[in-house]
């Protein structure tokens, strides 16, 4: 250890002292070590969590190989290896100190045949295992994956192909046909719904009125008497209109019913599956790199653009992405003007005195209020207070069924705006404080009014600070879930908040949200294990989304900083 005190006089000695101080062995080394260790720990944890989420989240869509396992007792399993681990001590058979025993977690699917999705297999009980090249995986609309071998493809009542490579090719061909027909069926169904829309509206109106307090009044009863007779004729008229569609759908449905595939499971059970129920056919053990990449991209696109299936554990998360982005967008629109105006008043107009100091402290503390408390306030104030009043004033005929007096994307975004308001105010004030007083004086001395000065000089130069506030607000808001759960988020929203029907933006609607989606799939889904990959992928997506929103704002801020770089003097 270098004794730094003994180094005295001369440049060389001084240099040595400096070097000694910057080396951990110098004086104060324990502090340097502990502090740097803390930083390293924090970094490791952060990087670790991000890597874990991204790796697990992005790996989900990669096709995993199939294995067929034959146990000593003759049981056969076909599935994907999900995990290998040492057996817990309690389940071990050998003496203490014997080499660790392993077990394997296999995803075997075929939920509809009574099996659980996953089995644990003791490695010691395995007699043989191999990767069968003819094994197929079906992703299905219901009941999760199916694993098995092709026996027969049937069209109508007659078989069109047996097993083997040739059969698989036929299967793929017929599957495409079936998918096309299913698409057609969906289109027809949608068209039918559209045609019947007036009827649906009328029915909804009547049933809402029937249950309302308004119906008891003279006026309401009259309204009902007026509406009810319209129901029959409209029904007849629309039924006439949709009849061809119904017939066509019936025909398609019969066709699809006949398109089936007969499969044999590892244990020799036979299952007949309608091709229309199959989303995707894969033969993972024979896939080349090229196919795997295509498969991956296909799944990724499905994940981002499609609706969820099987109570959110499969399919896509598009409605949740949409809800999250729209929510944050509405929140920003609400919070920015409000926060900036408040900051401008506090920093530029208000007398800088004790009262203002108290207000500042209050605003700072508001930033620390737990989000669930803000959520409760949002529920009481926005949903019941403002929403209830709007219902009283404009939608009273439907009461007690609420229209705006219930959770919805508007109230949720306003609640989030409230949550992030202090952040925006504080950051904006800092932005304003960073504008040199000299600019204000120069502007005022040129004969501008106070407002002109604020508008033309102060605010433009404060934009980097204001944008910092917006960035922080977006980061905070896009990760919040608690306040949303009581102000309108749902696990499955029937329709998006923006669609083609008047008035296009439906602020009263419930919405889905990535954060809540994660919670829902991880904690509330019927098959938590099978839903795990979805949780990882959704988390990764939320992470990337927040990152993207932040980067955009940061880039904009950088551009503005360049423009308003401080004076050289």
């Amino acid at each position: 250890m270098v004794d730094t005190r003994s180094a005295s006089g001369g440049d060389a000695a001084e240099a040595r002292t400096l070097r000694a101080a910057s080396r951990p062995s110098g004086e104060g080394a324990p502090y340097i070590w502990t502090t740097s260790l803390a930083v390293v720990l924090v970094l490791v944890m952060l990087v670790g969590i991000v890597v874990l989420i991204l790796v697990n989240g992005l790996r989900t869509f990669w096709p995993s190989p199939l294995v067929e396992v034959l146990l000593r007792d003759g049981t056969r399993y076909l599935g994907e290896v999900h995990a290998q681990e040492a057996k817990p001590q309690a389940q071990r058979t050998g003496r203490a100190g014997a080499p660790a025993e392993y077990r394997t977690k296999l995803k075997i699917g075929n939920r509809d045949l009574g099996a659980a999705d996953f089995v644990w297999i003791d490695n010691a009980s395995i007699k043989a295992q191999r990767p069968p090249s003819d094994a197929l995986v079906f992703e299905r609309l219901e009941y999760g994956n199916f694993y098995g071998r092709l026996k027969e493809v049937r069209a109508g009542e007659r078989p069109v192909a047996g097993g083997g490579e040739e059969g698989i090719a036929t299967l793929r061909r017929f599957h495409r046909t079936a998918a096309g027909k299913r698409q057609k069926l969906d289109d027809l169904r949608r068209e039918q719904l559209n045609i019947r829309q007036p009827l649906t509206n009328l029915e909804r109106e009547i049933s809402a009125l029937r249950g309302s307090r308004f119906a008891v009044s003279e006026e309401g009863a009259a309204e009902l008497r007026r509406l009810e007779p319209q129901l029959g004729p409209l029904q007849n008229q629309l039924n006439e209109k949709v009849r061809p569609l119904v017939v066509e759908q019936e025909r398609l449905r019969r066709d699809l019913e006949g398109l089936r595939v007969v499969m044999e499971t590892a244990n020799g059970k036979i299952a007949s599956i309608a091709l229309a129920d199959i989303v995707r056919v894969t033969q993972p053990n024979t896939m080349g790199m090229h196919h795997k990449v295509l498969h991956y991209l296909g799944k990724l696109i499905e994940f981002i653009w499609q609706q969820p299936r099987e109570s959110n554990t499969e399919g896509g998360v598009f409605p949740a992405i949409f809800g999250t982005v729209l929510l944050v967008f509405l929140m920003t629109i609400a919070v920015v003007p409000f926060g900036v105006v408040a900051a401008v008043y506090m920093h530029e107009y208000a007398r800088q005195g004790r009262l203002l100091r108290i207000v500042r402290v209050a605003v700072n503390n508001l930033a620390g209020v737990p989000s669930i408390v803000i959520g409760m306030f949002g529920l009481a104030f926005f949903v019941y207070g403002v929403g209830g009043t709007i219902d009283q004033l404009y939608y009273s005929r439907y009461l007690p069924t609420p229209t705006f007096g219930t959770g919805g994307i508007l109230w949720a975004s306003l609640t989030l705006a409230l949550l992030t308001l202090p952040v925006v105010i504080v950051a904006s004030q800092e932005g304003l404080a960073a504008v040199p007083q000299a600019y204000r004086e120069a502007s005022l001395a040129l004969g501008t009014t106070k407002w002109q000065t604020i508008h033309r000089v102060v605010l433009p130069n404060a934009t980097p600070g204001i944008l910092t506030g917006i960035i922080l607000a977006i980061s905070r808001a896009s990760g919040e879930v608690a306040p949303l759960m009581i102000t309108g988020v749902v696990k499955l929203a029937p329709s998006l908040a923006i669609d083609g029907s008047w008035p296009f933006l439906h602020l009263d609607r419930k919405f889905m949200h990535l954060g809540f989606h994660i919670y829902d799939v991880a904690m509330q889904s019927p098959n938590v294990e099978a839903a795990m990959p979805m949780v990882y992928s959704t988390t990764a997506l939320l992470l990337l989304l927040v990152l993207a929103l932040n980067s955009v704002a940061t880039i904009v801020r950088g551009k503005l900083r360049q423009r308003y770089a401080g004076s050289k003097l």
Binding site: A442, A445, L446, T449
Partner: protein, 282 residues
Amino acid sequence: MAGSTLEKLTTGMQEAASETSSRSPQAHRPEHLAAIHCENLSVFYGAQQALFNISMDIPRHRVTSFIGPSGCGKSTLLRSFNRMNDVIENVRLEGKVLIEGENIYEPGTHLPTLRKNVGMVFQKSNPFPMSVRDNILFGPRRQGVKNRALLEQIIEDSLRRADLWNEVKDRLHTSALDLSGGQQQRLCIARALANSPRILLMDEPASALDPISTAKIEETIYELKDEYTVVIVTHNLQQAARCSDITAFLYLGKLIEMNETAKVFRNPSNKQTEDYVSGRFG
């Protein structure tokens, strides 16, 4: 004088802002009136008094300089001529300041108009982070001048007067912050001139500049007096001697002596002034 201070103050900008001003015809303005006249002016920062009973007359179309040791109240006095002291909290003022005969501390004075007519250049150059052009046009635009030809005219005129035109005429669209320090200060002068003020207040305009830039600014100041009344604060006694007609010496918030510059420097009537101008002081 009846309450039309503004009309009288604004007559000078007629040629520049003719399209916006629908103001009364040139009011009678007696030539003997001082540009700035103050009477028993005292200024307080909170409890601390910075100026004590200052009374002075600053004549038209002359350059008047304020000299005195640091902290004696030169800036405070200058800033009370265009009410820039109002920007500072807890400032209190007693006495009168008459700009061309009108008391600017009377309630109802329109500050933007006053400051448009009494322009100011600060000690530290403070161009806005905008292009040269936008800096010059900042005042006129806020005053509501829209005519493009007129705006172009204003740019060239004010830059020429501030002796900057030749240096920046090809880079009017670059950021003002890319100019040199001396150019920035002359830009600030040009920016003040673009408002067509009647009086120009300059607080140590050359203190941060090299001798060449300083000389240029002094030249500019000397030329300006044909059209403007100029008041300049300076620590540089040679500068005061070179470019001002009248010099006022302030000390500890009091006006000690004010006279023709030549007299103040060669033959001061006050002992303190003599000590200060001969460098035997502070």
